[in-house]
Symmetry: C2
Subunit: 346 residues, 2 copies
DNA sequence: TTGTATGCGTTATCAA
DNA sequence: TTGATAACGCATACAA
């Protein structure tokens, strides 16, 4: 097993000092053209690459951004990551991803791993379990130690850091408005329990839309589920039960899996989509496009979100030390993608 | 912005030497009970965590495994990652992921980033573009420098490293056999061009299955597409065209998106699934479960694959230096998951 | 029982 | 123009 090439080895081989090698490789004017050429040729030949670890230690900077997210299956997260990577690349930063699998302990572990030297700052979407536990010490500790943090998607208001969100309330409102505009009046919502901020806000948007149309909000028409990231048998049964015998002509869901599950149960009891019941869902997944009928969705522009998050983080990383702390919350617009699960506006 | 706590700072604060602090924190017997307690209490109070970068530099080991994959949307990769992380955790390794987005340059960049100190070894699934370019210098360079590499999923035979594969030929054969067993005889396959190893092998399994049943292989029944990871308009049109007017009673596809697309076009021309045409697909996605009808699939056990890949890598990392190089290829079994897109075996 | 010195790979400062 | 030295944060062999 060959040892990696270091300045020291090059120096020994060429019989010069380490610092001469270092300077030559960085094109320092101090070094004579001759030796510089010689050293550079040698380094190139043997494919010398400086050791990032040593550089990080020396500079106390890694130029690496850490991303901590719950799951990666979601198409949404992929698009966010892409956005982050774009922006990072433009500013010469690298990106490293770790997954929490929606597990609190793992989120903490991952943060500690990355916080102890591997990363200059974090972009985080919290694990479900973390939100549930309401325990954010790992975040506040990182922040206390001077690690800039940007939260996105799953936000907690009280954490002092930059945040990037979509306007969930507005987005939900837009989705429900679309249902209203296409003629629906008996609209149910399948959402999450209120401890998930996004669920709460989207429920709010739903209510606002109905009210703006003078439609009464029926408590019976609101289903709040515990799960977010997948829809197991239990969740499916709850949706089935919720839809059974309900006189509705529209369903709004806060994610794609709820929508698909609802669509299945509706179809099973003989309802036609969109003629009997229309469906609109928050989503960024592939499911919506490929499902039959394809689903009208409120789309989240994950790439923009990622770019914005990275931009905020890099700003913090490169701002002069003395500057006052100041946290901004950026909002990313949503947009409606019409597909087959809703009727045309007349 | 507070500076991170270091041994040096603790030492100064407590008026002892750095090595005393270091030893105390590592419970060295050299240090008196008294000072040890004092130091540990202080460290705990101020939440001291050793700097990983410094440790890595010192030990020339990071205890970190780097994963380089093309895309993460695929449910399959998520399960593989989970497997890797499990095994890594059990052996006290950490895991870092980077995405190539199926882009060659990015794959190279990512490998270089991680190779220059951040990781002890790699687990890699190659980008599509890399396979296409047939340029693997970044891999061989890493290997030459003593970085152990394990390839999975998208393999290249000539690279000297450990490999984890599923038996694509066997899996495809099993899928097609199922179609045969349920009575299909006119079975088409939608696969990838042969430069993608998995596509090639699966095509082979398809042919073997047919032959074992004495069914003639029709060239017309084989569609080789260029894309792998998504199925855009162009790809969809090709599938549509391929299926049009074709007298078939079964379709086998090498991925879920091809299957869904095929199912749509078949339904559109009035075919019932599974009564007129049955479908079996290679897949690990959510689409198969949620599609209507849900799809019978050949499942890949990504988690096992991940575990195996990590195990092989860790073995290499912890083996004594002098040992001879020896590369193994591990095969992971596939299994058939029956759903609604195929008929029952009589 | 505690402290000093050295090295991991790099760069920056200063001396030669 | 080149080289020696110190420092980044840590662990450890050795000296006190």
């Amino acid at each position: 097993m060959k040892r990696k090439l270091t300045l020291k080895l090059i120096a020994k081989e060429l019989d010069v000092s380490i610092s001469t090698v270092s300077k030559a490789l960085r094109d320092s004017a101090e070094i004579s053209e001759d030796t510089r050429q010689k050293i550079k040729a040698f380094a190139k030949l043997y494919n010398y690459k400086p050791n990032n670890i040593a550089l990080s230690l020396k500079n106390r900077k890694t130029r690496t951004i850490g991303i901590i997210i719950p799951q990666i299956v979601h198409h949404f997260f992929t698009t966010v990551i892409r956005g982050i990577e774009q922006m990072a690349r433009e500013h010469n930063y690298n990106v490293i991803i770790t997954l929490s699998n929606n597990d609190f302990d793992k989120e903490v572990l991952n943060m500690e791993l990355l916080a102890n030297g591997s990363t200059d700052g974090f972009i985080v979407s919290l694990a479900k379990e973390t939100l549930h536990k309401d325990d954010f010490r790992h975040l506040t500790e990182a922040i206390d130690q001077g690690m800039p943090v940007v939260m996105f998607d799953r936000i907690v208001d009280e954490i002092p850091c930059d945040k990037v969100m979509i306007d969930d309330r507005e987005g939900a409102k837009m989705g429900v408005m679309h249902l209203l505009k296409t003629g629906c009046r008996k609209i149910a919502i399948i959402t999450t329990k209120d401890y998930v901020t996004i669920g709460k806000l989207r429920t709010k948007g739903y209510i606002e839309a109905l009210e703006s149309y003078g439609v009464k909000v029926e408590k019976d028409f609101i289903l709040k589920l515990d799960t977010i990231d997948h829809c197991g048998d239990d969740c499916s049964a709850k949706i089935k039960n919720f839809l059974k015998d309900k006189d509705i002509d529209g369903v709004f869901t806060v994610n794609e899996l709820f929508a698909v599950t609802a669509a299945k149960h509706l179809t099973a009891i003989g309802k036609n989509i969109p003629n009997d019941v229309s469906i609109v869902s928050f989503s960024d997944g592939e499911l919506s496009q490929h499902f039959i009928p394809s689903l009208t969705t409120v789309s989240q522009h994950g790439e923009l979100m990622g770019r914005k998050a990275a931009e905020l983080l890099i700003n913090k990383l490169e701002r002069p030390e003395e500057e006052v702390e100041e946290y901004t919350t950026a909002y990313i617009d949503t947009s409606l993608i019409e597909r087959e699960s809703t009727k045309k506006i007349k």
